[in-house]
Structure formats: structure tokens, C-alpha cells
């Protein structure tokens, strides 16, 4: 499929998903009411009673879902290019857990819904993600080679360790237990405009790297050595990419907890359609990740309505089998 047409289709699909996300839920809102509410909000006219659902509840939630999906998908694109490994994903590599621990530490140490907390949680998540990344790569690069098995094993080992540490922290932070547990469940239940504004800048900042280095990401697929020979300053580039990836993961994790497999599935599905070229893979994955997450969240809050299930369960139910399929295919392909 031609990239331009795919982008147009994806953009349309994202708009449709956003509209559906706002319209559907415990109370259905008609498209006319949505546009009316948006118009009144933008012009500052007096609100009608139903507007609160659209403007204060549903809209920040779908936008946050879109941002989280875009962050995770972009991070997946970055990691998969860097490790030349189709199975790399922030969740599987343990980076999400690292971000989680960082966030939990901050949550445990602070109280109340203060602005400081909104800033500190993402910062803690970023620190956790970056440290975990460094640790996993260090562990996996035995004798300077990063092979799939050691990368996955290191990621899993670190994941478990960090999960245990997270539980350990929770035992000590009894007063904050409910806030932490609520956050840990993984989900967009507590979505608010504050969250949206907290992670939007992180998303934009993190996206600079993938957007500005699509060609270099392509070259990384040929291997570190070849990329260097063709003019990529490999060591520096890796650091920059890992930092950007950690930032994107931290953004997602700090508002939605641990949501798995979006970073794995999205780039794959896009690659199947558009091929491995990052000039199309990056923007298409951002759009597709956003769509996927908005839809997953929609499923999470409507399928058992009025009970909401954590969106992480939805993505894991879809992503787990997908991961197994990939793993089997990769093994068979050898």
C-alpha cells in the first residue's frame, strides 16, 4: 500500500476511534452532542449538563489513551530498531517495570494530588526506565553481543526483580497503598486533563529522535558495524535513542501503569503492511498505537459495563498470543 494513502487511512481511523471513544460508554453521547459540547467549550459559551461527560471525562481519557498508545508504539519502534530484534518491547525488556518502580517510589514518598506529584511521578518513572534500560543492556551484552535470548532473559529477570521491589515498597507505604495499588492496576481510569498536559510535552520531546533520525534507524537494521561504516555515529546514537525510548515509556507508565504489548504489536502490524522503512514506520506506528490504545480502552470500559477492567488486561489478552506467534515464527524462520 502507498504510504500517503495509509497515513490518510490511519488518520481517519484515529479520528473515528476518538469519536467512538467519546461517544460510547455507560452513557452514550450522540455525535451532535459531542460537536456541540466541543463548540461550547471552545467558544466559552455556557455548558449544557451533558457537556461534563464529554469535556471533563471522556475527552481527556481518549486523548490520554491516544498519547499513551503513541508513546508505547514509538518506544517499541526505537527498541526494535536498536536491538535489531522484533521481540523488543518496553514491557518485555522490563523497562516498563523500571518506570513503574520509579513512579511507585515517588507515589509512596508524596501525598495528595499536588502539581509537584504530577511532575515528580513522570520524573521518577523516567529515572527508573533509564536505569533499567542500562542494566538490561549491560546484562544482555555479554561479550559485546546482544542476542535475542539473553536480551529477553535479562528483561524477564529484571522485570520480576523490579515487581518484587515494587511490592516491597508498597508494604512500607501503607498510607499511600490505595493510590499505589490503583495506579499499579494499569489503566486510564484516573485520566484527567492534568495527566494529558503532563505527558504531552514528554511525548513531543521523545518523538524528536525517531522523527529526526528515520534514516539512521534504517541503517541500524544493517548492524552496528555497517551503520557506522555508512556514517552513523553508532555509540552516541544508541544513547540518544535509548534516552528517547525511556522518556516515551516513562510518559506512558507514569499515567497509566504497566500496559503491555502495545509497543510490540503496533510496529509489527505496521511493518507487515508498509515494510521496514522508518520514514513510514515511525509516523504510521504513532497513529496505529494511538488507535489501538483508544480502542483497547473502549473495550476495557464497555465490555463489562458498568464494571471497568484494566486496559492492560485487554492489551495482554491480545498481545500475549501475538508474542507467542512471533516467537514461533522467528524460530521457524531460522
Amino acid at each position: 500500500m502507498r504510504p500517503s494513502r495509509t497515513f490518510a487511512l490511519l488518520a481517519l481511523a484515529l479520528v473515528a476511534a476518538l469519536v467512538a471513544g467519546v461517544a460510547l460508554g455507560a452513557v452514550a453521547v450522540s455525535p451532535a452532542d459531542i460537536s456541540g459540547a466541543l463548540g461550547r467549550a471552545l467558544t466559552g459559551a455556557e455548558r449544557s449538563p451533558a457537556d461534563a461527560i464529554v469535556i471533563d471525562v471522556r475527552l481527556p481519557r481518549v486523548l490520554l489513551a491516544a498519547l499513551v498508545g503513541a508513546c508505547l508504539a514509538s518506544a517499541g519502534v526505537l527498541y526494535q530498531a536498536l536491538f535489531r530484534n522484533a521481540l523488543a518491547d518496553p514491557y518485555i525488556l522490563g523497562i516498563s517495570s523500571g518506570a513503574g518502580l520509579g513512579a511507585v517510589l515517588v507515589l509512596a514518598a508524596t501525598t495528595g494530588a499536588t502539581a509537584m506529584r504530577y511532575g515528580a511521578v513522570p520524573a521518577g518513572a523516567f529515572a527508573g526506565a533509564a536505569l533499567t534500560m542500562a542494566l538490561v543492556v549491560r546484562l544482555a551484552s555479554f561479550r559485546g553481543r546482544l542476542d535475542t535470548t539473553s536480551l529477553l532473559l535479562a528483561g524477564i529477570a529484571i522485570s520480576y526483580t523490579l515487581a518484587a521491589l515494587t511490592s516491597f515498597v508498597m508494604v512500607f507505604a501503607r498510607e499511600q497503598m490505595s493510590a499505589v495499588v490503583f495506579w499499579m492496576m494499569g489503566g486510564l481510569t484516573s485520566a484527567s486533563w492534568e495527566y494529558v498536559f503532563a505527558i504531552a510535552p514528554m511525548f513531543l520531546l521523545g518523538m524528536i529522535v525517531p522523527v529526526a533520525s528515520t534514516r539512521a534507524l534504517n541503517l541500524m537494521l544493517l548492524g552496528d558495524e555497517r551503520a557506522g561504516q555508512l556514517g552513523v555515529p553508532v555509540e552516541r546514537f544508541k544513547l540518544v535513542v535509548l534516552a528517547a525510548g525511556s522518556l516515551l515509556v516513562a510518559a506512558a507508565v507514569s499515567v497509566s501503569g504497566l500496559i503491555g504489548f502495545v509497543g510490540l504489536m503496533t510496529p509489527h502490524m505496521v511493518r507487515l503492511v508498509l515494510g521496514p522503512d522508518h520514514r513510514t514506520l515511525v509516523p504510521a506506528s504513532v497513529l496505529a498505537g494511538a488507535i489501538l490504545m483508544v480502542l483497547a480502552d473502549l473495550v476495557a470500559r464497555t465490555v463489562l459495563a458498568p464494571v471497568e477492567i484494566p486496559v492492560g488486561i485487554v492489551t495482554a489478552l491480545a498481545g500475549g498470543p501475538f508474542f507467542v506467534w512471533l516467537l514461533v515464527r522467528q524460530e521457524l524462520g531460522r
Binding site: 534514516r215 556514517g231 552513523v232 521496514p276
Partner: protein, 440 residues
């Protein structure tokens, strides 16, 4: 970028040699692989790097690409110290065809070659028609343009290797580094690629290539540099560098160095690996009469089997003489086209008499060499006779035929080819000495 602007590195100097190592030490981390390297490669020069596995040939190339560290001395690329070249600047000067093929993702061949333009494109610049034309020209040169729309992960190793060369050429480099550039190629494409590289060198590119095939290296290179024992001890024209003694010292191979009939370049025909019998061979002694290559393989195999081998008189320049020389066999050398004299025959007779078994290979005899036959027949004892006893072998006015008939009458064992000779020699030697050859 800012650092580069603050302290500009010198611009590449077109007049400077493309690559210069001066007393350079190269390695990885603390581990020095090569030391004391002095080597300069000028524009338009094709230098071949040869040497045994693990000697450091690839490491020498990696010093240029920055994958191995320069631990001491100086390395200049087009007049610029290698250490001051960042990755994009280096990529504009130096193209590489690595030994290991890049992992192929599902890019098309055209996209793959266009990746060579990376260092020539701005961050957000797209490859326009001019860049694409350069990439397609590189594909044309490497005979890969017809693959342009194919996905590289569906191509053969040979196609991928030529595409990698095309990718390197798309960089428009001044220096081309080749690490076993033809390892995945068939005969036809091997010639095509090397002819192309030779042409590029003639047009001004500096080429440094690692080769395992000494014949190819000698044929295409202006000079050969030898890498051995962590040094580059020799660099010069192929004919001066490739000598039996170098092959013995560096590759531990005894080889005949000859001249390629077509290109006139040096050829190497390996005969035996060193060491040939770590102790002096002490098995039964076999005396062989050959000529024009009739005995070459037999002498080689007898030596390998642990026999002591000696030969009759041979002219210098004869292939059997060259092989006997390489094997270090006792023999009688004649000048080219010289006929055997009396003293030659006397010495041949001594060698023949001393041996436990004598072999006459399937060679014709004329005035020049019938002395060999006379000596061996008169020496008596176990004798193996290869080929027919016929007048067709006699160019010595009947004497040779008479000698062959006499040998047959004395009970010489008549055999066909070399393999049969070897088996019969082993039987006879065991009978003559009560022991077989020393097992090696």
C-alpha cells in the same frame, strides 16, 4: 556538530596519500593486535593484504573505520588524522565492503544501495533524482540494477555481496576497503567485481583489500602487503613478495611459485603443509625418476606418507624440479635444456643405489635424460615401472627401449597410475626394509 565548528578538523587533502600508517599500533581495548605498521597507499593504487588467518588483516582495515582503536603512532585518511574523523565525514571518504554480510531486512535492493547516500544527505533531506542516479550507477557497475525492485532478504549471498559493494560505491568514497570481497561470489562475478575494482583504482580510487586467494591478490594488486605475527613486514610488487620462502615462513606452506599463462602474474601452487616431517624422515628411501610433472604428485604423496624421497637429474624450470626443490628432496639439478653429463649420471647412480625402492614414472626418454634410466636399471634392486614398455617412449635411438625391456626382464613391477605406484612402493619397501613408512 558544535564541537566540530569550534575546532575544525583539517579538510581532506587531495594530494595526501589516501591511507598512511606510521609506526602504528592497532588493537581493541588494551589488546594490541598489530604494532609498528608502516604502510602508505596512494590515490589510484590497489594494495592487497595477505596473511594467515588471525594475523590482523581485518584489524588493519578496522583501524580505518574506527572499529579498532589506534593505540599508538599515526593513521591518516586523505591527510586527516583518523581519530578526528567523525562517522559521517569518514563515510564520505571511506567505503567498506565487510566480510560479514549485513543482516538483510526486507528493504528493496534500490533502497539498500541508497542507504550508502546517508552521509551525503541532510537530516531531513530526501534522496532526490541526483542521489538516486548515483545509487543506480553504482548498481549498474556491480551488475545489480536488474535486482533494484527485489527485496534484499530474498537474494543470494552473492547478490547481497555485490549490493554491498554498490552501497559502498554510492558513498562516492576516495578510499575503498575490501574484506574478502569475493568470498560469496561465483567465478564469473568474482572476475567482474575485481575487474571493476581495478578500474576504479585506475580512475583514482585507493583500494585496500584483504584476500585469501593469493593468485587473485597478485593478479589485481599493484602491491601486496603481508600481515604476519602482528606486523606488516613486507609490502611490494606481487612478484617480489610472493616467494617460496615467504609462503613457507608466513603461511607454513611449501608451494611452487609460477607464472600465470594468461595474465603473466604470479601463481601459487601449494604442495605440502609445513612441517614436512617434524623430525627428518627416517622411513624407507624411494628414488623417483620423473620430469615434466609426471612425478610431482607421487613425490608429494610419498613425502606425505613419510618416505625419504630422492630424484634423478632434472632441469631447472621443470615442474618436477620445482616440486622436488620445494619438498627439499635430494636430487641432481641440471641447467635449463642441459643434457646429463657423466658426473651427473654418477651422482644419480649413487642416489638410486642408496634407495630401498626405485620408481620410473611414465616419461619419455631422450638423449638428455636417458642417463637417469640407465643409472636406475643398472642399480638393480626393487623397481617400479609406470607406463608401457614401448618404442613410443624412446627418443634415444633404441637405448631407452632396451633399458625398459631389461628392467622388465629383471622383474620390475609394472603399474598404471600414481595411486598404484604408491601401493606397490609400500609393499616393496616393507619387504625390502622389514618396516613401513613412518606414520605421520
Amino acid at each position: 556538530m558544535n564541537a566540530a565548528a569550534a575546532r575544525p578538523t583539517p579538510a581532506p587533502d587531495p594530494a595526501a596519500p589516501a591511507l598512511v600508517w606510521r609506526d602504528a599500533a592497532v588493537g581493541y581495548g588494551d589488546h594490541t593486535v598489530l604494532r609498528g605498521v608502516d604502510l602508505a597507499i596512494g590515490r589510484g593504487e590497489f594494495v592487497g593484504l595477505v596473511g594467515p588467518n588471525g594475523a590482523g588483516k581485518s584489524t588493519l582495515l578496522r583501524a580505518v573505520t574506527g572499529e579498532a582503536a589506534l593505540l599508538g603512532g599515526w593513521l591518516g585518511v586523505c591527510g586527516v588524522p583518523a581519530a578526528e574523523l567523525d562517522a559521517p565525514r569518514r563515510a564520505r571518504l571511506v567505503g567498506v565492503v565487510p566480510q560479514a554480510l549485513p543482516e538483510p531486512f526486507s528493504f528493496t535492493a534500490r533502497e539498500f544501495v541508497l542507504m550508502g547516500r546517508h552521509s551525503r544527505l541532510g537530516r531531513f533531506e530526501r534522496a532526490d533524482a541526483a542521489h538516486t542516479a548515483i545509487a543506480e550507477r553504482a548498481m549498474e557497475l556491480t551488475d545489480t540494477l536488474r535486482l533494484a525492485a527485489e527485496r534484499v532478504d530474498t537474494l543470494s549471498g552473492g547478490d547481497l555481496q555485490r549490493l554491498t559493494l554498490a552501497q559502498a560505491l554510492a558513498q562516492e568514497p576516495r578510499v575503498l576497503l575490501l574484506d574478502e570481497p569475493t568470498s560469496h561470489l561465483d567465478l564469473n562475478h568474482r572476475l567482474q567485481v575485481l575487474d571493476l575494482v581495478r578500474e576504479l583504482a585506475d580512475d583514482g580510487m585507493a583500494v585496500l583489500g584483504v584476500f585469501h586467494d593469493l593468485d587473485l591478490a597478485a593478479r589485481y594488486s599493484d602491491r601486496l602487503a603481508v600481515v604476519a605475527d602482528g606486523r606488516v613486514p613486507v609490502c611490494g610488487p606481487p612478484r617480489d613478495v610472493i616467494t617460496p620462502s615467504l609462503l613457507r615462513d608466513v603461511f607454513a606452506v611449501r608451494a611452487v611459485v609460477g607464472t600465470d599463462a594468461v595474465s603473466g602474474s604470479v601463481t601459487v601452487t601449494p604442495v605440502l603443509r609445513e612441517p614436512v616431517g617434524s623430525a627428518p624422515a627416517s622411513g624407507p628411501e624411494v628414488f623417483v625418476i620423473g620430469g615434466s610433472g609426471a612425478a610431482a604428485d607421487l613425490m608429494r604423496r610419498l613425502s606425505l606418507a613419510g618416505f625419504r624421497v630422492s630424484t634423478g637429474a632434472l632441469n631447472v624450470g621443470d615442474i618436477d624440479q620445482a616440486v622436488a626443490d620445494v619438498l627439499g628432496l635430494q636430487r641432481v639439478d641440471l641447467a635449463p635444456f642441459e643434457e646429463m653429463g657423466e658426473s651427473d649420471e654418477r651422482r644419480v647412480r649413487e642416489l638410486a643405489a642408496r634407495a630401498d625402492v626405485r620408481v620410473v614414472c611414465d616419461v619419455p626418454f631422450g638423449r638428455a635424460n636417458v642417463g637417469n634410466l640407465r643409472a636406475v636399471v643398472e642399480a638393480g634392486g626393487p623397481l617400479v615401472l609406470a607406463g608401457e614398455v614401448s618404442a613410443e617412449r624412446d627418443f634415444a635411438g633404441g637405448e631407452a627401449l632396451a633399458l625398459l625391456e631389461r628392467a622388465a626382464a629383471q622383474g620390475a613391477r609394472m603399474v598404471g597410475g600414481t595411486g598404484d605406484v604408491l601401493a606397490v612402493v609400500e609393499q616393496l619397501a616393507a619387504a625390502a626394509t622389514g618396516e613401513g613408512p613412518r606414520a605421520r
